[in-house]
């Protein structure tokens, strides 16, 4: 489905979190979802989103950090904005994500309006 709205990929294993972000961003962006790391990478290569809201701890073979590494290490996807959304709130985790190339770091519980404002500021300005 083609759309003129910027595409935002939401990656989280919790359905309610995906629903929450989708409701929040759905009016301004084209939102697609993935529930694990591997499907997230497939979606990135398939839909070329402008931004990815990425959970860190996910089941499966790839967690959020590995997905981040894959996105930022590929020339085709390294320009995609990646915001980590995680329950891991320690400074070391934040610093680790920043060094890997994350553009933003949101700690659960987060404000949906705050996330939307960040995405809006980076994609619509």
């Amino acid at each position: 489905m083609s759309t003129s709205l910027p595409t935002v990929l939401i990656v989280d294993d919790h359905t309610d979190i995906r629903r929450l972000l989708s409701i929040t961003l759905g009016r301004e962006f084209h939102v697609i979802e993935a529930e694990d790391g591997q499907s997230a990478l497939v979606a990135v290569r398939t839909h070329h989103p402008r931004a990815v809201l990425l959970d860190v701890m996910m089941p499966g073979q790839m967690d959020g950090m590995q997905v981040l590494d894959a996105i930022k290490s590929s020339p085709d996807t390294c320009n995609i904005l990646v915001a980590m959304i995680t329950a891991r709130g320690q400074d070391a985790d934040h610093e680790d994500a920043r060094q890997r190339g994350a553009d933003a770091y949101f700690i659960k519980p987060f404000s949906p309006a705050g996330v939307a404002a960040w995405v809006r500021s980076r994609l619509l300005v």
């Binding site: 919790h14 929450l20 996910m58 089941p59």
Partner: protein, 641 residues
């Protein structure tokens, strides 16, 4: 000179006259006899008379000739006798004597004058010698007095024993220490040995006698008793100054001292050292003491136990070498501990040595992995400048790490439902959403709130199990089947699911459990069986009697479902806190249920076993201690010991 000449003339004159008279008389007598013999006129009768007359005449002549000789000899010998007497007096009389009168004989004048000069000289020398002797005698008396004062002040006993002459000198302190009467001071040679008891083989006297033997030690410490029975320690020092041909001592000088205070102090010190060593050996903490030169002086057994380093390897090493040895033998790849561990972690020995002023942690690799806390404390003692304390905090570090991980995981698990609650509540503040959407959001909030509440309850239960074991644990003998049936009847089964099938092949069993905790464990297992099995699947409960590896009879409550099952990897993690085999499923859960089951089983001395096949189902068996067995054929119940 004139008088001397007159005396010489008188002597010569008298001698000449006497000699001339004797010669004349002798000559006349000889002439008369010759005449008589020539004339032969004498008759035989007359001849004997003549002979007698001649003999008489010869005697008279002889007497007349001896008398002058006697006079001469007497005149010559009198001065010499007087000179000899004076010489004898000079030899025996120490006092100053007057010069003897000079003889009138010219031949003896020089001799007398020389004798007088010699006598004067000898008298002078003797006087000077007497002065020296007097001065030295005074000095000797002074020194002797001083020596006696020193001997008395030294509080030590002395003796000088000449074995060959039995001359013994002892001072008063010596008598006191040897337990001898002070009468030996007056008659030491007679009473010194006699006062000894020959039966005393261990006393100081025996020690003194033992020192007389060849190659005997020069000193000996011994214990004896005072007259009142108080024990006393003495040390005897002896020096053999003279020996007999066979090597035995013939003269010995020695001293004896009371070292009771020193021995008592030594004994107290030894007792204290033994006490401290016992405490240090019993202490789980290892100690290393450094002397004033920063060399290793003491290594406790606990340090060897912690590090595996023998004390003999470390003795006398300086501090830098000590740390190098520790790191070389016990740290294969020095790495800082995780951030979960508090304190400073140093990766190399030199830095550690420099910065070791507060609590420092070392990660030891050999002989086993340990986390060791090192503290340094200065010592005011001269012999020990620093004490290093090594405490094995591996358990504390593990607990701290697990606690941090647990809190981190718990926070993560709580943040996820909280994110939904927070986010959807924020969205609900926007009035743009229609009622169905708002209702959907409220449902999500309600569901996540329930999940969060359930999570908190299980966290609290887990915490209660861990922290309140002694307070909240009341095991009683409980009929197993009745308890299981009660749990099944009260649990909220899914509407479309049938109740579990309960079987008990061993008849009625009783187990020794805390009912509330056992109920919670069985309920958790049952809940999982229904959550992770399909709608038509049955759940079976089998109550059985099994033997544990320890030989104790256990009640087995096994719950079997026909659900999704687990892989071996998933089964191995089922008791980890917050672990969920399939997070992506829609089945709600906290991941704490089976952790709680495991804690409860362990608390009872029981166990939990898992047997699962993916796609076919899972069997969870709870093992609790058995207390009674009701025989299936109706025989009386038998207690289980």
């Amino acid at each position: 000179m004139k008088r001397l000449a007159c005396n010489r003339f008188s002597l010569h004159f008298q001698f000449t006259v006497a000699l001339a008279g004797a010669c004349v008389l002798g000559a006349l007598s000889v002439v008369f006899v010759i005449e008589l013999m020539q004339t032969q006129a004498l008759t035989t009768e007359v001849t004997p008379h003549l002979t007698d007359a001649m003999l008489l005449t010869l005697c008279v002549l002889l007497c007349l000739s001896v008398w002058p000789a006697h006079l001469v000899v007497q005149h010559l010998l009198a001065p010499l006798i007087r000179l000899g007497q004076a010489a004898s007096d000079l030899e025996t009389n120490a006092q100053q004597t007057a010069p003897i009168p000079v003889s009138t004989l010219p031949e003896l004048v020089v001799l007398f004058q020389a004798f007088n000069a010699l006598q004067h000289c000898i008298t002078g020398l003797r006087s000077a010698q007497d002065d020296v002797v007097a001065a030295r005698t005074q000095t000797l008396a002074h020194n002797e007095t001083r020596l006696n004062h020193v001997l008395n002040a030294s509080n030590e006993g002395f003796w000088d024993w000449d074995w060959s002459t039995h001359q013994v000198y002892v001072n008063r302190r010596c008598c006191q220490l040897l337990g001898l009467p002070e009468s030996v001071l007056s008659y030491p040679s007679e009473t010194f040995i006699e006062s000894w008891s020959p039966q005393d083989q261990t006393g100081p006297q025996a020690a003194i006698l033992a020192c007389l033997e060849p190659d005997a030690p020069t000193h000996r410490e011994l214990q004896t008793h005072k007259p009142d029975g108080t024990p006393i320690w003495l040390i005897v020092h002896q020096s053999v100054v003279e020996r007999q041909d066979d090597g035995r001592a013939s003269r010995v000088i020695g001293c004896i001292s009371d070292i009771t205070d020193r021995r008592l102090a030594q004994q107290a010190l030894q007792d204290r050292t033994t006490e401290l060593n016992t405490i240090l050996d019993l202490s789980p903490d290892g100690f290393v003491a450094l002397d004033s030169a920063n060399h290793v002086r003491y290594v406790s057994m606990a340090f060897t136990r912690i590090t595996g380093l023998d004390a003999s390897l470390l003795q006398t090493l300086d501090e830098a070498d000590f740390w190098r040895c520790l790191y070389h033998n016990c740290v294969s790849d020095p790495q800082p501990l995780s951030s979960a561990d508090q304190g400073t972690v140093i990766g190399a020995a030199p830095q550690l040595m420099d910065t070791l002023c507060t609590r420092t942690l070392i990660n030891l690799t050999y002989p086993v992995r340990r986390v060791v806390e090192v503290t340094r404390r200065g010592s005011p003692a001269d012999a020990v400048s620093q004490i290093l304390c090594f405490r094995d905090v591996t358990h504390e570090a593990d607990v701290a790490r697990l606690k941090t991980e647990f809190l981190s995981t718990a926070a993560y698990e709580l943040r996820t439902p909280l994110a939904s609650i927070y986010g959807f509540a924020e969205i609900l503040l926007n009035p743009d959403h229609n009622d169905p959407t708002r209702h959907e959001f409220v449902e999500i909030i309600h569901r996540q709130s329930h999940l969060m509440s359930q999570l908190l309850d299980e966290l609290l239960n887990l915490s209660s199990i861990e922290a309140r074991i002694a307070v909240d644990f009341h095991p009683v003998n409980t009929p197993v089947q009745a308890l299981v049936e009660n749990i099944v009847s009260t649990m909220n089964l899914p509407p479309t699911r049938s109740a579990p099938v309960i079987s008990s092949p061993h008849g009625e069993l009783s187990m020794h459990v805390d009912v509330n905790k056992a109920r919670q464990a069985i309920l958790n297992v049952l809940s999982n069986a229904y959550k992770y099995s399909s709608e038509g699947g049955e759940v079976h409960i089998v109550i059985d009697l099994v033997d544990a590896p320890s030989g104790v009879a256990m009640v087995s409550i096994s719950v079997t479902d026909t659900g999704i099952g687990m892989t071996p990897g998933q089964s191995s993690q089922i008791f980890d806190r917050f672990y969920r085999a399939n997070r992506t499923s829609k089945i709600p859960g906290s991941g704490l249920g089976m952790s709680l089951v495991k804690e409860i089983a362990d608390l009872h001395g029981g166990n939990v076993t898992v047997d699962s096949v993916p796609g076919k189902g899972t069997r969870i068996a709870l093992l609790f201690p058995c207390s009674f067995v009701q025989q299936a054929d109706g025989l009386p119940a038998q207690p289980i010991h």
